[in-house]
Amino acid sequence: MGEFEVHRVRFFGLVPAGVRCLACQPRGARLALARTDGAVEVYNFAANYFQEKVIPGNEARSVEALCWAAGDRLFGAGLGGEIAEYDLSRLCVAHSVDGGGGPIWSMAANSSGTQLAIGCEDGSVKLFQVVPGGIQFERNLDRRKGRILCLSWHPSDTHIAAGSIDVLRVFNVSSGQTVQRIMVNYHVHKVKRECIVWSIAFLSSGTVVTSDSFGRVQFWDWERGTLEESHTVSTSAVLSLSVSEEEDSIIVGTSTGATYQFQLLPVKAGSLEKRWVRTKPFQYHTHDVRAVAHSSTALISGGLDAQLVIRPLMEKMQKKGYDAALRKFTFPHRRLVSCARKARLLLFQFSQHLELWRLGSTDETGKDGEVLPLCRMPEHLVQLKSKGPEHIYCSCVSPCGSWVAYSTASRFHLYRVEYKGDGVSVKKVPKVPKLLLPAYQLQFASDSGSLFIASARGSVHVLQLLEPGGCKHLHMFRPPSGCPEAVYLLAVSADGHWLAAVGGDWAIHIYNLKCFKHHCTVPMYNCAVTALAIHPITNNLVIAYSDQQLFEFSIPEKQYTAWSRMVQNSGLHKAWLERDSPITHITFNPKNPSHILLHDIYMFCVLDKSLPLPDNSALLMNQSTLKQLPETARQRQLHAFKICKKFQPLLFADLLDENCLVMVERPIMDFKTQLPLPIQQKKFGT
């Protein structure tokens, strides 16, 4: 008999959307990513590439290009023909302007961030002025036939290179005239085939780099209009290209899923002659690599297989640490699953609908590791479809299972779910109070008596839920010092006494629910909070940060606990700190108050506070070796981290009761089968 009975859930059919485009903030520490469903995400380099902000997509708004301008303003443009500016503190579109040239395929900001150039379906390149509070149309450049698929500004902002079909053109920004036109077509046996310039980059030396649909990366001298170098990297198209800020390295992504690095290397030691050389090939993706980005320390690529891969450049690393780890993100860094513990229900959040499932059950017991036969199969109870083009921001199910809430950008819905025998009836709660929308996180109290709604400007609303199916706005919490950013994580104590909320500025505020006032603020830590939870017995707040640090903060005493101080003094294990994915959920075992249950995508960990911390010489993942040891030796080898990697990728783990766990997995192969077939490639030996 094992320690827990585990529900291994594999019926969460999440298919993450493919990555469409990437944009690195110039000289900054953020990466913006747009997915094919129109969602925009922001990753923070300083916080271990934590997915800091998510703006859910919208069916009516696709994003074809993203760019940062004027410091930290993020603009997106898409086939809808509109240029939108995103409000990164409220996580929604601030305002949008029609481009006026049909669908927009490309957009680029100049080096100072004052102008935006867009490439349109009708072959025009338009310039927009970035002004406070919006953008303003400035002028049209010379228009020719053929859609403009890619654009690049010369670093001196005097010229723009634009790639189209069969041709690339260079415009003079001040005159607006085409100053060079280079044909990039490809002849095979006198048959001319269409050659699409997928991506372009203008280097300060005057070299234009293009990547095209024949798998070539070509270097052109724009003034003479001559080809300098041509590298065939692939038999299929090269879709994306990105240049480092020093202009000595290029990353390209191909439609076979391979990415290649080009480096500008001296031909001989000490000589001035330099040449672009294809150096490292990487094959992390299975599908088209539609977007690549080159940060100062890493090569970043995103593919239609929904993966974001961050491959650090080892030569730019000072030391081997968690910065140097290869990171692959497929799933969001927040939870899409909520669990009704008492009712044994799971609520799955998809982009436009919710699914409510009842877990299966068994009445048999077995040995450790044994698969038990089910006497009742898991049951799909309800599917809730959200209306309109907007995608769902967040959702939650109450512990008793009778309340379900979700929010989109403009609407908030609360449902009352009633179970009559086998039937389920869902009733919308009428007269939901008007709130400041959207809601970024929802959390029910453990007695299902109230709902906490995380909202913009650091505020948290408290709704009282009334039987049978009503609600009332009780209170709105707001940090005393004020906060411009939205709250993205909530935690409530089991006794209903405390509420912890984390905003976009990473400050953790604790509110007293009994007397509706601000209790205290956890001391600031310069990293993003990835998960937090309040212990049901001791009311200690456990916080996981994106640099993999763990803190325990005693709410009644308003200070870090002794254990937390001990952890900080002795330091966590090296292998723990070098993990590449953040902790996404924390829960507790009421049977063993010293246990903290944590998980990320790749592992599930039971942290036993009563055991000593491992030092760096010890093995962190020691469960399999412990099993082989005799009892006495095992006692000596035990340490606080008990890690299980059996369930991968793990989207959600929670404790249903004292000895029952639920694990929600999404095997990569399951969702790969839902993607379109990759390009067929002959593989040797098959």
Partner: protein, 833 residues
């Protein structure tokens, strides 16, 4: 001259083994120089001929390099610890530098004035090697000491492929296991890089070879998993970078950059030469089907030719446009010689396993492959770990008219066996498949022989095979009754014999073909070959019989058997009793087909010894202990074209046949009565620089013209002719062609020269002998091919003249006699120094 030379028999290596210890070198005037065993061989690229064999090293030659400051000179290094500088056009060692320790590889650089680089073992440590530069002193004298060593790199690997020098000698790169180290001479900076050591599913990462770009800072390395990495920016310890090229599915054996560095050549086990353009993964060309794994690749300095050395000792020369040009092949090394050494009665060529599935016919005289016969006739896949059919047994009938081959594919569950019989087609001059028998035995075939009866070729021809399935089978020819069959005869089984269900291991016919001896484990059975009755049995328990053979000529009443418990037994067939036995662990038992002698090779305490005996006396005629250090696996007597004149009584057994043997490293050796100097004196071939003028119509015309002229001269007077011919005699040629600085003083040469002009009396008797020989065969000429061609042309010319009168014809005969006389001239003077 004869007496001192006969003092001892010498063991001479004449082919095989893994010949090539280093990359080949193209000289500036299109000769190819190869390290080959203890020698350096010089081949003509145009004619594929071996022009010169330069010997002098006492152990394996491990590296050859042209002298960068004089392209007519060659450095060679050897395991015997010396570096020799050769004038390879004349084949003369100019200087010998003694370094002391074993030299494992040699590199010569244009930028280093008077030093070369060698790999030597690190003193005091096993299996660690270092790259050192050796200062070659410019002192006078032939034998010099080179003790001025300075260590360049430590911890290098022993193979010459693991070190390469970069552009203009700026840096040296060395690989070992998963580490690459680059040392910059000017900056005195050493950079180390490594690839991950973990063996992934795609194979291991270990380095296998390295090459440096001739003009750029770029290193190409080959890996055991078939990848090629191109390293750049390696003067930065951290910001180095590499790209990967991957086509080979198995180890990359060697790499070479083209002269300009625009393309890269790679080769490996796949036997495909790959040409990578611009170091790009997408642009590559292939030269497939090179026959066997590529071991070394080297390029001519002008880039017009490339040459690959293969693991089976073949040399392939390839044009710059990646077209196969020529192939130089001596004895092809096969994975395992399972056929034994067989002599083809027709060509007197040695026949054994060649490239996989092929039978090679190796000409001993010219050290060339005559041809390769595809027996298995299936595509061979160059990949480790595949069980593919290979040739295991071969036998010729007495006249070489029939050839029997056995091929098998080893598989535990069901072995595949095939017996094929080939008929020699006079028209096409090649063997033609006559009969194919699938599964002739249930299990492996252990031995096979034809009944050797010279006079009654066709009707009485019998083939006997013995198998592990405890039977021997007799195969005979039958008339083919099928009217549609293209051939008149085919083979079928006639008799199956067995003995107490023992495995049959060997079989052998007596000389007259009346008796067949078959050994069944411990017992030798003798069968009547007409009635197939068991006549008698012999055994010498507890040893199992390893070899059997019948005595020949006067000793035909004896049967010799060797057992694996170390006994050699001789049974008398008339008395059916043991005549004598000797305690000797015989590995190889080989009767001479032309005499009574039997050679036995034993293996005792890590050395092979040779015993030659006649079956009628238990005392060996000749014993040579410590024949060689390797285990001798196979031996064969090859009949000589003409009996050799042998002075000593002891070596009479070598008069009519020559004994060749093959060691387990597949080195072909023979015994020679000639002394070292004699063998090394230039033969007519070595002077072939002039004679190997390509056969052009003009040269034929010229030759014809000269002949006619000489014939006219004969008419004028014999003496005059002689004088003219004498000028062509080897002694005179020697005098004229030897470089002046190595000639002895004129006073010493003068009498020899005068002597060579005189007509000695001895010549008369020699002429008589030659006359007899001439009656026997027409093929005694061993001049170069070109010359033979010329004479043939000449003979064709004279044939219409025969109608006119006998005189011209006779004159040409007498001329030939003279030629022969000249050949027998004593030019041993050269051995005096």
């Amino acid at each position: 001259m004869v007496a001192p030379a006969a003092a001892a028999l010498r063991v001479v290596r004449c082919g095989g083994s893994s010949l090539h210890g280093a990359r080949a070198v193209f000289s500036a005037d299109s000769y190819l120089l190869c390290a080959s065993g203890d020698f350096v061989k010089m081949y003509s690229v145009a004619t594929e001929e071996t022009l010169r064999v330069m010997g002098g090293h006492a152990d394996l030659v491990t590296g050859i390099q042209l002298n960068p400051h004089n392209h007519m000179q060659l450095y060679s290094s050897s395991l015997d610890g010396t570096i020799k500088l050769w004038d390879f056009m004349d084949g003369i060692p100019i200087k010998t530098f003694t370094v002391g320790s074993k030299l494992l590889a040699l590199y010569a650089l244009g930028s280093s004035e008077d030093s070369v680089f060698v790999i030597i073992p690190k003193s005091g440590e096993r299996d660690t090697f270092q790259l050192v530069s050796v200062k070659l002193t410019k002192a006078a004298g032939q034998d010099l000491e080179a003790k001025e060593l300075s260590v360049v790199l430590d911890g290098v690997d022993a193979s010459p492929k693991y070190i390469a020098f970069g552009r203009e000698g700026e840096y040296v790169a060395s690989v070992k296991e998963v580490n690459l180290q680059v040392y910059f001479f000017k900056q005195k900076q050493l950079n180390r890089f490594s690839v991950s050591a973990v063996k992934t599913k795609s194979g291991n990462n270990q380095f296998t070879c390295i090459a440096c770009h001739p003009t750029e800072d770029c290193i190409a390395t080959g890996h055991a998993d078939g990848k090629i990495r191109i390293w750049r920016n390696f003067y930065h310890k951290k910001e180095y970078t590499y790209s990967t090229l991957h086509w080979h599915h198995d180890t990359v054996m060697d790499l070479a950059f083209s002269v300009e560095g625009t393309s890269l050549l790679s080769g490996g086990v796949e036997s495909v030469l790959v040409l990578w353009h611009n170091q790009s993964d997408c642009q590559k060309d292939f030269l497939p089907r090179l026959g066997s794994p590529i071991e070394y690749i080297s390029l001519a300095s002008d880039g017009t030719l490339c040459c690959t050395l293969h693991t089976d000792n073949r040399i392939t020369i390839i044009n710059s446009n990646l077209r196969f040009a020529k192939s130089i092949q001596g004895l092809i090394k096969s994975a395992d010689v399972r056929t034994g050494l067989v002599v083809d009665p027709r060509t007197k060529a040695l026949v054994l396993n060649g490239e996989p599935g092929h039978l090679q016919f190796y000409c001993l005289q010219s050290d060339q492959q005559l041809f390769s016969l595809d027996i298995v006739q299936r595509q061979y896949i160059h990949q480790a770990g595949l069980n593919q059919a290979d040739l295991v047994k071969v036998a010729f009938s007495a006249q070489g008219k029939w050839l029997a081959t056995v091929e098998e594919r080893e598989e535990v569950t069901d072995p595949e066996l095939q017996l094929k019989l080939w008929f020699y087609d006079e028209e096409t001059q090649s063997f033609k498949l006559n009969t194919r028998i699938n599964m002739p035995h249930e299990d492996q075939i252990t031995d096979m022989c034809f009944r050797d009866m010279d006079e009654l070729e066709d009707d009485s021809l019998i083939l006997v095979t013995t198998g592990r399935d405890c039977v021997f089978k007799v195969w005979v020819m039958v008339e083919d009754t099928d009217p549609e069959a293209q051939q008149s005869v085919s083979w079928s089984c006639d008799f199956v014999g067995s003995y107490h269900n023992y495995q049959a291991t060997n079989c052998c016919f007596s000389e007259d073909g009346s008796l067949l001896a078959v050994s069944f484990e411990e017992t030798v059975t003798v069968w009547d070959s007409v009635t197939w009755d068991l006549k008698c049995t012999f055994c010498h328990p507890p040893g199992k019989i390893r070899n059997i053979c019948f005595g020949r000529l006067t000793c035909s009443k004896y049967l010799i058997g060797a057992s694996d418990d170390g006994f050699l037994c001789c049974w008398n067939l008339l008395s059916c009793a043991l005549e004598w036995s000797a305690h000797l662990n015989v590995l190889v038992l080989q009767p001479d087909p032309l005499s009574e002698h039997i050679a036995a090779v034993s293996w005792l305490s890590k050395e092979s010894s040779l015993f030659v005996f006649k079956p009628n006396e238990p005392r060996p005629i000749y014993i040579q202990r410590n024949l060689c250090r390797e285990k001798i696996q196979l031996a064969a007597f090859v009949p000589r074209d003409e009996p050799e004149t042998i002075g000593s009584e002891k070596y009479l057994w070598l008069r009519r046949s020559q004994l060749f043997f093959l060691t387990d490293t597949q080195e072909l050796m023979t015994l020679s009565t000639k002394s070292l100097q004699e063998r090394l004196t230039p033969t007519s071939k070595q002077l072939a620089v002039e004679e190997s003028i390509p056969m052009t119509p003009f040269s034929l015309l010229l030759g014809k013209h000269r002949r006619q002229q000489s014939q006219e001269d004969i008419d004028l007077g014999k003496l005059f002719v002689r004088n003219k011919r004498e000028q062509d005699s080897p002694a005179v040629k020697e005098l004229l062609h030897t470089p002046a600085h190595v000639l002895p003083s004129a006073s010493f040469l003068c009498p020899i020269f005068i002597n060579s002009l005189l007509i000695s009396k001895q010549n008369k008797s020699a002429e008589e002998v030659a006359d007899e020989v001439e009656m026997e065969s027409e093929k005694t000429e061993d001049d170069s091919d070109e010359e033979r061609d010329v004479t043939e042309m000449e003979q064709e010319d004279t044939s219409p003249l025969e109608l006119l009168g006998e005189t011209t014809c006779k004159l040409s005969k007498s001329q030939e006699k003279e030629l022969r006389k000249i050949r027998k001239m004593d030019y041993s003077w050269i051995s005096a120094f």
